[in-house]
Amino acid sequence: QQQVKQSPQSLIVQKGGIPIINCAYENTAFDYFPWYQQFPGKGPALLIAIRPDVSEKKEGRFTISFNKSAKQFSLHIMDSQPGDSATYFCAGVSWGKLQFGAGTQVVVTP
């Protein structure tokens, strides 16, 4: 049973749109919530991460929103570009171990 539930499975947006990926978790022992980005043929790479005592974090065009009471967090990609087309994984970290969501394939059309 997945400890981190991620939705949607896939989404398509036009260039400039804002894809939003949502994750929900059960394990309150998670102390860190990273997002990983994976391009075809590559391993995942850390994109952005947040601690549970922060409600929002921005890095460039990527923003994490975190709601501790609801045990939910989300990734927003502002002004999305075709180069952002990839699979995105949310995760929770407990004792240095990652629990991943199922992944969201994002396609940004020109």
């Binding site: 990273p34 850390l46 240095g96 171990k97 992944g103």
Partner: protein, 116 residues
Amino acid sequence: DVKVTQSSRYLVKRTGEKVFLECVQDMDHENMFWYRQDPGLGLRLIYFSYDVKMKEKGDIPEGYSVSREKKERFSLILESASTNQTSMYLCASSLGLETGDPDTQYFGPGTRLTVL
């Protein structure tokens, strides 16, 4: 830059064969991990290691074993490959922080294993 390399990008084996997947990292990281990635399931942890000759089971260790004889090398072993082990296998390493700070995992490119 951290580099995690995996011995093969693609591998085809037959049911019952013993399979070795090798992973090497060049950044003197303490921790190493093996995951399998399947569509709709994300990445699931098979085994991890916090030190040389040390190993711990992850979430799905059945049918797998590991070996870490040197700090930079972590091997995943399928003792008798089965068709349900057809998957993408990803190796990762991390520094092994003890300060409580986030410990980023760095991934290799993956090995796509097909068991016929």
